[in-house]
């Protein structure tokens, strides 16, 4: 999929672990792991909002479009 999820990059920048993020936004660790590994098919605005709030970033910092060509 040409949409890349840069959650791992933002977590590293904020020096935060996935389990900490999971506790702060109330999303299960397996679901966050699916998002981090790029296996997710879609993301809810509410999830995006919660992640952006905790990591103090913009949606564009988390999602990136890379052309498949």
């Amino acid at each position: 999929m040409p949409i890349i999820v840069n959650l791992d990059v933002m977590l590293a920048k904020r020096k935060m672990r996935l389990s900490d993020l999971s506790n702060r936004i109330g999303l299960t660790l397996p679901n966050l792991s699916i998002l981090k590994t790029g296996k997710a098919k879609a993301i809810r605005f509410s999830t995006l909002e919660a992640i952006c709030e905790v990591l103090d970033c913009q949606p564009g910092d988390l999602l990136e479009y890379v052309s498949e060509e």
Binding site: L27, N31, L35, A40, A42, R44, T47
Partner: protein
């Protein structure tokens, strides 16, 4: 044992596997026996019944006629193999996935193929016998597909499989929405 007990699914899967295996063995046994028995080939030529026992053909002709007559069996075995694969997926607790739908679609394709092959048997055997000079002209053809119910069953299987496939993709997408 409750209906929602996983062991009940396992027991049903074992039964389905047993039936599939038994059906495959019976089919192969029946066709092997039919090769050695002296069944007559019967065709209508200008509304007259023409028959000849299989043993009176030369061995190579007999093999070709036998292959044409049993092409339908091969497709039936393919359908049984797809049900066998379905059982394997069920035993791996895979129920409503794209792979399940693919097996159902293949069963449908095999049934459609069986209906088509059944329609083509008379023209193919007739053409072969005429080519070999065994019959003077092509036999009478059926205007309609003889196994229409098989064709309809195959189409049902295939269409339901397509719906299952799309539903499985939709569910997978919903499950992977975070």
């Amino acid at each position: 044992m409750h209906n929602n007990d996983p062991s009940s699914v396992h027991a049903l899967t074992v039964w389905l596997r047993f039936l599939t295996g038994a059906a495959a063995i019976m089919t192969v046994a029946e066709d092997t026996l039919s090769f050695f028995t002296d069944k007559p080939v019967a065709l209508f030529i200008e509304s007259e019944l023409w028959t000849k026992s299989i043993s009176s053909f030369q061995v190579e002709d007999r093999l070709i006629i036998f292959s044409i007559l049993n092409a339908k069996t091969l497709l039936w075995l393919i359908a049984l193999y797809q049900i066998w694969r379905l059982c394997r997926l069920y035993s791996q607790t895979e129920f409503f996935t794209v792979r399940n739908a693919f097996c159902f679609a293949n069963v449908g394709r095999a049934l459609i193929g069986m209906a088509v092959v059944d329609t083509l048997i008379v023209p193919l055997v007739g053409a072969f016998l005429k080519y070999r000079g065994i019959i003077p002209q092509m036999p009478d053809m059926n205007a309609f597909m003889p196994e229409l119910d098989l064709l309809v069953a195959g189409l049902f299987f295939w269409l339901i499989a397509k719906i299952m496939e799309r539903a499985a993709i939709m569910r997978e997408e919903a499950d992977l929405t975070i």
